[in-house]
């Protein structure tokens, strides 16, 4: 699937997914849609890129810390939920306001600002970050049996009865790992 055609098309599809997901996200209150569906749709687009380009390349393209994304989303949702407390209301108390845009007597339509929208932003981010993170983590991982060398080191440490912090495992995935894309083809 990693042909040029597929890659080009997937880029286009990604763009469409992005736009439509934003659309769905904004529409959520009145029409089918909302933060969750929007997020999942965008994830579909992102995963398509991952599948067609291979994980490492796609990672380089996005340069995103998906771990952080859902952390941020969770934080945002939490804060949106806590915020009403500072206004002497209960947790998760919602409010909305419809603002009319009217300049010089000409109506430019009206926009609705709902506090639940803020919360939905959090949902949106968590869904994107979490789902992409899960799938890329599973896709990236390559099983490698523990090296002999490490074993010796640890056993030596044990004999000396000193609890040393174990050598840090490399968090970054090296380039030679098999990408999920290859697996998915």
């Amino acid at each position: 699937m990693t042909t040029i055609i597929a890659q080009t098309i997937s880029k286009a599809v990604f763009a469409i997914c992005l736009m439509y997901s934003v659309n769905l996200f904004i529409h959520g209150a009145n029409y089918p849609g909302g933060g969750f569906i929007g997020g999942v749709l965008l994830v579909c687009g992102i995963i398509l890129i991952y599948v067609t380009f291979g994980i490492n390349r796609a990672d380089k393209m996005f340069k995103q810390d998906w771990f952080g994304w859902f952390g941020f989303g969770l934080l945002f949702a939490s804060i949106a939920a806590i915020f009403p407390m500072f206004k002497n209301h209960n947790y998760f108390r919602s409010a909305f306001n419809v603002v009319h845009f009217e300049f010089f007597g000409i109506s430019f339509g009206e926009l609705e600002f709902a506090s639940s929208m803020m919360f939905d932003v959090g949902v949106y981010f968590v869904v994107i970050g979490g789902l992409v993170f899960i799938i890329t983590q599973i896709g990236k991982h390559k099983y490698s049996p523990p090296k002999e060398k490490d074993e010796k080191n640890v056993s030596l440490d044990r004999k000396d009865n000193i609890i040393l912090p174990e050598p840090k495992e490399e968090t970054e995935i090296t380039d030679n790992t098999v990408s999920a894309a290859e697996g998915l083809q």
Partner: protein, 138 residues
């Protein structure tokens, strides 16, 4: 609750449980997938309000439209969306649908976890046979 939907749900349950009792670890995951679907269908179908309409209240039509799931799709193919607020009994039960939305996500999350686990079990035990997962006993 509708008998045929109930029959479907319980059939899926039975099938899911049969699969969960299967020896193959991947089939267990599939079994959970089927059971998740069964639960979700059950939740949706057991809505108390059995109205004819999608639970979206439309007071003003055509303010703006979307290009796939517009009003046409919502009102035409699936179910009509009526104008104006109306009595609650006209709608399908929105609460159960909201609950299912949550349930879908949760079952997806657990599926992701169990799949990761299955992958690692396959690497560690070198088999997908569940009966070999008996190293801890007694």
């Amino acid at each position: 609750m509708n008998f045929f939907i109930a029959l479907l749900v319980s059939f899926l349950f039975g099938l899911g449980i049969y699969l969960i009792l299967n020896r193959d670890i991947m089939k267990i995951a599939i079994g959970f997938g089927i059971m998740g679907h069964a639960t979700n269908i059950f939740i949706v179908a057991s809505g108390i309000l059995q109205g004819e309409f999608v639970p979206i209240i439309i007071t003003k039509i055509n303010e703006y439209t979307t290009f796939i799931f517009g009003d046409d799709l919502a009102s035409g193919i699936i179910a009509p969306i009526i104008e104006g607020t109306s009595e609650a009994g006209m709608y399908a039960d929105p609460l159960t649908q909201a609950l299912v939305l949550t349930a879908i996500v949760i079952s997806f999350a657990t599926t992701a976890v169990i799949l990761t686990l299955i992958y690692h079990i396959d690497k560690e035990f070198e088999t997908t046979d569940v009966n070999k997962l008996g190293r801890m006993k007694g």
